[in-house]
C-alpha cells in the first residue's frame, strides 16, 4: 500500500528517518493511495489554512460576573504547519481548540478555514480531546471507522482505511480489542488514528500526552512527527510543557493568563528530528519559559491570592 506504512510489530519505537525532511509541507506520502491529502481548493498561498481573527470569548460565572476568557486572539497557521500553543493552565488554550473545532461559539471574532468562516463542527478539523473521548462500546477498529461512517464512506473503503491507519499507529493486532483493554499510550494512538481516518486538513490536539509516562511520550512524539511528515496535515497542538512544544512545533505561540491573549510567537528554527533532552531544545525552551513564568506568577496570584516565586524547571510541567 504505502512505502511508509511500516509493517513493524506494535509498540516498537520507530526512529525517524533523518533523510525525511520533515519541515513545513514535508513529503505527503506521494506513493500511497490513501490517505489522500485533499488539496484545499481556492487557496492562494497568502490565505492561511487556519485564521483566527479577533476572537473573544466571555462567559458568566456562577456568581454572575462576566469573565473574559479569550481576548482578541489573532493567529494564523499555514497549511502543513505544526503550531504549538503554550500557556499557564486557565489561559483558555483548550477553549481555543474547541472554538476552532466548532464545538463552541465565540462571543465575537471569526475562525476561518481557508478563508471561510467556521459554522459548527466539521470533519475537516478533528480535535483530539485531552481525555480522548474514545467510545468504550466500540472496538478499536470501530472507533477508527466511526468518523468515516458518519461521512458516508462505503464499507469496503472504511475497512481498507481502518487497516491502513491501524498499521500507521502500530495497532494492527488490536483491531478487535475494546479501549479499556489498552494502555494509555495505545489509547492515545487509537485517538490519533481515529482522528486521522476522517482525513481532516487540520488536526487539533489538546494536551494529548500530558497523562503519559516519559518513555511513552517520547515514543509518541516520534510517531506524531513521522505521521505529520507522512500525511502533511496542519497540526495545532496545545500543551503546557514548553520543551514538548519546542520538540514538535514549527512555531510556538505563548498565551497569557486570563484573559487569554497571544503574548508572543516564536519560530523554532531547529533541524528535525529534535530530541527532548537536546541542549538546543532546552535553550530555546528557556527563552520561552522566562516569559511563561511571568504568566504563571500572575495566575498563581489570581488563583491563590499569593505572590510566590514558583520553581519552574526547564521541561517540567508548571
Amino acid at each position: 500500500m504505502s512505502t511508509n506504512a511500516h509493517n513493524f510489530p506494535a509498540q516498537i519505537p520507530i526512529p525517524i528517518d533523518p533523510r525525511i525532511p520533515a519541515h513545513i509541507g514535508g513529503p505527503r506520502a506521494k506513493s500511497s493511495r490513501i490517505p489522500v491529502v485533499s488539496p484545499s481548493r481556492n487557496v492562494s498561498s497568502d490565505i492561511p489554512k487556519v485564521g483566527l481573527s479577533e476572537i473573544c470569548l466571555s462567559y458568566r460565572t456562577q456568581s454572575g460576573e462576566r469573565l473574559l476568557a479569550l481576548d482578541h486572539i489573532n493567529l494564523q497557521v499555514k497549511a502543513g504547519e505544526f503550531l504549538c500553543i503554550v500557556g499557564p493552565s486557565g489561559c483558555g488554550k483548550s477553549t481555543l481548540l474547541h472554538l476552532i473545532a466548532g464545538l463552541h461559539q465565540q462571543t465575537s471574532g471569526q475562525v476561518l478555514i481557508d478563508g471561510h468562516s467556521v459554522k459548527g463542527p466539521g470533519t475537516d478539523r478533528i480535535l483530539i480531546f485531552q481525555e480522548l473521548g474514545l467510545f468504550p462500546w466500540l472496538t478499536v477498529g470501530d472507533n477508527i471507522e466511526f468518523g468515516m461512517k458518519m461521512k458516508g464512506v462505503s464499507k469496503a473503503e472504511r475497512e481498507e482505511k481502518t487497516r491502513y491507519y491501524l498499521r500507521l499507529v502500530h495497532l494492527s493486532q488490536f483491531k478487535d480489542s475494546y479501549t479499556h483493554q489498552l494502555s494509555g499510550g495505545m489509547r492515545q494512538r487509537v485517538a490519533l488514528a481515529r482522528a486521522l481516518a476522517t482525513e481532516p486538513d487540520v488536526l487539533l490536539m489538546d494536551e494529548p500526552f500530558a497523562a503519559l509516562d516519559a518513555q511513552t511520550r517520547d515514543l509518541l512524539h516520534d510517531e506524531l512527527e513521522r505521521i505529520w511528515a507522512e500525511t502533511g496535515r496542519t497540526i495545532i497542538f496545545v500543551t503546557h510543557n514548553v520543551r514538548e512544544a519546542i520538540r514538535l512545533g514549527d512555531r510556538v505561540a505563548l498565551m497569557t493568563f486570563r484573559p487569554g491573549q497571544v503574548k508572543r510567537e516564536f519560530v523554532v528554527d531547529l533541524p528535525r528530528p529534535r530530541v527532548l533532552e537536546d541542549i538546543h531544545v532546552a535553550r530555546a525552551a528557556g527563552e520561552i519559559l522566562g516569559e511563561l513564568r511571568e504568566e504563571i506568577n500572575r495566575s498563581l496570584e489570581v488563583e491563590y491570592n499569593v505572590g510566590v516565586e514558583p520553581h519552574v524547571e526547564v521541561g517540567v510541567e508548571p
Binding site: 463542527p121 480535535l127 480531546f129 481525555e131 468504550p136 462500546w137 458518519m150 475494546y178 481515529r194
Partner: protein, 253 residues
C-alpha cells in the same frame, strides 16, 4: 457449588414446610393446596395447552407494550434531559405521576379504548413509560459529556448522534431503569388481565379463583414469578454483563 447446595437446602426446606402444613390439615385443602396438587395443576394446564396459550398471549402483549414505552420513554427522557424548559415543567410532573399505580389508568383506558386489547396495552405502557423516561433522563445527565462532543467532532449530528453515540453512551446508566420498566410493565399487564376476559395469564389466574381451584391459582402465580425471574435474570443480567465487559467496568457481585 456451595451456593447451589444452599439453594437446594433452602427450597427443599420450604417445600417440606409446605407439605407439612398441608398434611396437618389446619386449613381445608381448597384453601391450602398440597404441593403435588399444584404440580398436577401445572401439568394439566400445560397438557391441555391453556397455559402455553396464556403465556404466549401475555408475552406478546408485554413485549409490544414495553417496546412502545421504550421508544416513547427514551424520546421523552432525552427531551427532558436536554431542554431546560422541559425539565422545569415536565420533570416534576413525571416524578409525581410515578406515584400513581398503573392500574389507576384502567378506568380511563376502558372509557377511551373500550374493553379491548388496547386498553390493556395502554395500562402496560403507562406502567413502564415513566421508569424508562426517568432512567433515560438520568442516564443522559450522568453520561460523560465528552462522548457527545467527540461524536459531533467526528461528524455525527441529529438522529445519528443520538443513535450511534448518545444512546450507546448512556446505556450503562439506563440499563437498571430499563429493567425496572420491564418489571412495572409485567406487573401492570397481569393486573390489567385479571380485570378482563383476555386469555392471558392474569385471566387464567382469576379463572382459578372462579372455580375455587386453589391449586391452579398457586400454579399460575408460580408461572408469573418464573417468567419475571427468567427475563430479569437471563435477559437483563446478560445484557448488563456484556455492557460491563465492553466498558471494562468491574462486575458488581
Amino acid at each position: 457449588m456451595k451456593r447451589a447446595v444452599r439453594l437446594i437446602v433452602f427450597y427443599a426446606g420450604l417445600f417440606g414446610l409446605w407439605t407439612l402444613l398441608s398434611q396437618l390439615k389446619i386449613w381445608p385443602p381448597y384453601l391450602f393446596p398440597t404441593p403435588w396438587g399444584v404440580c398436577e395443576a401445572l401439568y394439566a394446564g400445560f397438557k391441555d395447552h391453556s397455559y402455553w396459550i396464556a403465556i404466549a398471549v401475555s408475552m406478546r402483549r408485554v413485549l409490544i407494550g414495553y417496546a412502545i414505552s421504550m421508544v416513547l420513554g427514551m424520546l421523552l427522557g432525552l427531551g427532558v434531559a436536554s431542554s431546560k424548559f422541559l425539565e422545569e415543567t415536565m420533570g416534576g410532573l413525571l416524578v409525581s405521576l410515578q406515584s400513581l399505580p398503573s392500574i389507576c389508568w384502567w378506568p380511563l383506558a376502558l372509557l377511551w379504548f373500550g374493553l379491548s386489547q388496547n386498553a390493556i396495552l395502554f395500562v402496560v405502557i403507562m406502567g413502564s413509560l415513566l421508569s424508562v423516561t426517568l432512567a433515560m433522563e438520568d442516564g443522559r445527565k450522568q453520561m460523560p459529556k465528552i462522548y457527545g462532543m467527540a461524536g459531533r467532532n467526528l461528524g455525527a449530528s441529529g438522529f445519528r448522534l443520538f443513535w450511534y453515540v448518545l444512546l450507546p453512551a448512556s446505556l450503562p446508566f439506563i440499563v437498571s431503569g430499563l429493567k425496572q420498566g420491564w418489571a412495572f410493565a409485567w406487573r401492570s399487564l397481569i393486573t390489567a388481565e385479571m380485570l378482563y376476559l383476555s386469555l392471558g395469564l392474569g385471566q387464567v389466574l382469576m379463572m382459578g379463583r372462579d372455580l375455587n381451584d386453589m391449586s391452579a391459582v398457586i400454579a399460575v402465580m408460580i408461572l408469573i414469578i418464573a417468567i419475571g425471574y427468567v427475563v430479569d435474570g437471563v435477559v437483563f443480567k446478560s445484557m448488563e454483563h456484556r455492557l460491563q465487559q465492553r466498558w471494562g467496568l468491574t462486575p458488581s457481585t
